[in-house]
């Protein structure tokens, strides 16, 4: 007997599972599909049963709003792509043809143009939410970093898209931005020629800009998928900055968050439609309705509004290479924030000093935006330099310093207690839309 058992245990093999068919809670056709490709149970798990903190404000709707914007940009972009010609001699005219001849072409182009701006409006509010409520802190650092990658890609694709109509601003914007690479020591000149495929911005550049505009748009979709997967692993932050502990702290994603997000999307899209219909060119520049002319630079050349703060940083540094370095690092530095701000408290609701710093940072953002659109001389240059200095000081001085010296306010033990405190008027939160 003993002999036999030892023999069988020696010959015992672990079972393998190469085939994972089954386990679906669904029946019928749904079950049949779900057993073979478990996206249905995944969807239910991540979007219907998913628990989110019940204290989420409308600031948490911008993720959903951005997703809708991205989808609409892709739909309108594909439509435009069916009529646009990426050729230096035909591009400008093909855009005018879209505006005048193509059925609803004017609507689709104006939608695409203005959606780009509204995408940035939403992303700036989304980033502000993250800064104010400490959404970048442990364990959401990677999600934050993925967000910064998305932001860089957005800027790239927005810039490339802006060059496509081949107007004066397209052409000179493309010239100035591609020339940023000439600041790279030694090989800069070769990089720029390589990017252009010519000795100046021209037909070759336009053609590849068109291709890259598409490519990066879909890269964004890819990184957004990672961003959302990470979100579903670490869970949403919330205005209290406290992690949910039991069912008193949470609500189901559906119908609570979905209905709230739908309302927010609707309001956002209504504002978007109002701007698109009544002031479609308000956020653009009239010079871009002049065909590109390589012999004349517009007297006052400015990038799109959403680039202005970073453009101001570029111009405030008198050295070419350092200017470019400062501009790129002004965004990249966001990625260091999870480690530069090491306060254990996430939400600014309980951080009296950091809260003021974040508001000053927002003010700085708008000041730099104004400076970026003003001529680079005199008092504007001085203000631009102060603004640039504050931008970096916010990260490298204020963030670590405040983490050390600040004494956080007394905090509730849980999210449901936070809600009680709010009702009792013990704490103040930022209200967006709601009473």
């Amino acid at each position: 007997m003993n002999d036999q058992t030892s023999k069988t245990s020696k010959e015992h093999f672990e079972p393998v599972h190469t085939n994972k068919v089954g386990g679906s809670p669904f029946t019928g056709v749904t079950g049949w599909i779900d057993n073979r490709l478990p996206i249905i149970r995944m969807f239910r798990h991540e979007y219907l049963d998913f628990q989110v903190p019940k204290s989420l404000s409308y600031f948490w709707s911008f993720g959903g709003i951005l997703t809708i914007c991205l989808l609409l940009l892709i739909v309108t972009g594909i439509s435009l792509g069916m009529h646009y010609k990426p050729d230096a001699n035909q591009a400008f005219d093909s855009v005018e043809k879209i505006m005048r001849d193509v059925n609803f072409g004017w609507l689709i182009r104006y939608a695409h143009m203005n959606l780009a701006s509204f995408f940035f409006i939403a992303v700036y509010l989304h980033i502000f939410r993250g800064l104010y409520y400490g959404s970048y802190k442990e364990p959401r650092e990677l999600m934050w970093l993925l967000g910064i990658i998305i932001f860089f890609l957005m800027m790239a694709t927005a810039f490339l898209g802006y060059t496509l109509p081949w107007g004066q601003m397209s052409y000179w914007g493309a010239t100035v931005i591609t020339n940023l690479f000439s600041a790279v020591p030694v090989v800069g000149k070769f990089i720029v020629t390589w990017l252009w495929g010519d000795y100046s911005v021209g037909d070759a550049a336009l053609n590849r800009f068109y291709v890259l505009h598409w490519l990066i748009a879909f890269l964004i979709v890819g990184v957004v998928v990672f961003h959302v997967i990470a979100l579903h692993i670490v869970g949403s932050n919330n205005p209290s900055g406290i992690e949910p502990k039991d069912t008193r702290d949470t609500v189901s994603f559906s119908p609570f968050t979905t209905s709230k997000d739908l309302l927010a999307m609707l309001v956002f899209l209504l504002i978007f439609v109002a701007v698109m219909m009544y002031a479609p060119n308000y956020l653009g520049h009239p010079d871009n309705y002049i065909p590109a002319n390589p012999l004349v630079t517009p007297a006052h050349i400015v990038p799109e509004w959403y680039f202005l703060p970073f453009y101001a940083i570029l111009r405030s540094i008198p050295d070419k290479l350092m200017g470019v370095v400062a501009m790129v690092s002004s965004i990249a530095v966001l990625g260091l924030l999870p480690w530069l701000d090491f306060s254990k408290v996430r939400s600014s609701v309980f951080r009296p000093i950091w809260k003021q710093c974040v508001f000053l940072f927002v003010l700085d953002f708008f000041v730099l935006m104004y400076i970026g659109g003003a001529p680079a001389e005199g008092i504007y240059l001085v203000i631009g330099r102060i603004g640039t200095a504050f931008w970096f000081a916010f990260f490298f001085i204020l963030a670590p310093l405040v983490s050390i010296i600040e004494k956080p306010l007394p905090m509730p033990a849980s999210i449901h207690e936070f809600e009680d405190w709010k009702k009792q008027g013990k704490i103040k939160t930022i209200k967006l839309f709601n009473k």
């Binding site: 495929g197 630079t297 050349i301 540094i317 008198p318």
Partner: protein, 175 residues
């Protein structure tokens, strides 16, 4: 037991790993090169490398702009005053010190030929504007003097002189 001994020796597997990795690396390199290289200027672009410009109709003090390789080239027939100003500039005051005589052809002090591309970020400077009466770049405020040298602003170097030569007394070939 024999497996342990084999660890110290070069095996068939090691050989195959090295060979596969080497061939793979060469293959990837050979595959990437054309993909990178296709983005550089093609033969038709390079073929348009030189142009000839007739200068007989340019009066003193006048400036013409011609397009060369997709970029503007400023050809300025300078006045005596402008030449004098350019020659008298103190080299110590210059950001990118260069004497005026090195920026024109010998005996042709009148003619200044420069690329009309700001060395900062590539805008086209405006003639006759700025603090030094040469050129002024509207994009980020670089001032150039009557020799096309950077005097003030973010541009790091003087306006570039393209390769050119006088083919006759009033004709130049650029490129």
């Amino acid at each position: 037991m024999s497996e342990i001994k084999n660890k110290d020796k070069t095996t068939r597997r090691d050989f195959l790993t090295t060979v596969t990795a080497t061939v793979g690396a060469v293959g990837v390199g050979a595959g990437v090169l054309p993909v990178i290289s296709q983005m550089n200027p093609d033969s038709s672009v390079k073929a348009l490398a030189s142009i000839e410009v007739d200068l007989s109709k340019v009066k003193e003090g006048q400036e013409i702009t011609v397009l060369w390789r997709g970029k503007p080239v400023f050809i300025k027939r300078r006045t005596k005053e402008e030449i004098q100003k350019a020659q008298q500039a103190n080299l110590k005051d210059l950001k990118d010190p260069q004497e005026d005589k090195l920026r024109v052809k010998k005996g042709k002090d009148e003619w200044l030929v420069v690329l009309g591309v700001c060395t900062h970020l590539g805008c086209v400077p405006i003639a006759g504007k700025g603090d030094y009466n040469g050129w002024f770049c509207p994009c980020h405020g670089s001032h150039y003097d009557t020799s096309g040298r950077i005097r003030k602003g973010p541009a790091p170097t003087n306006l570039e002189i393209p390769q050119y030569e006088f083919v006759s007394n009033d004709k130049i070939k650029i490129g």
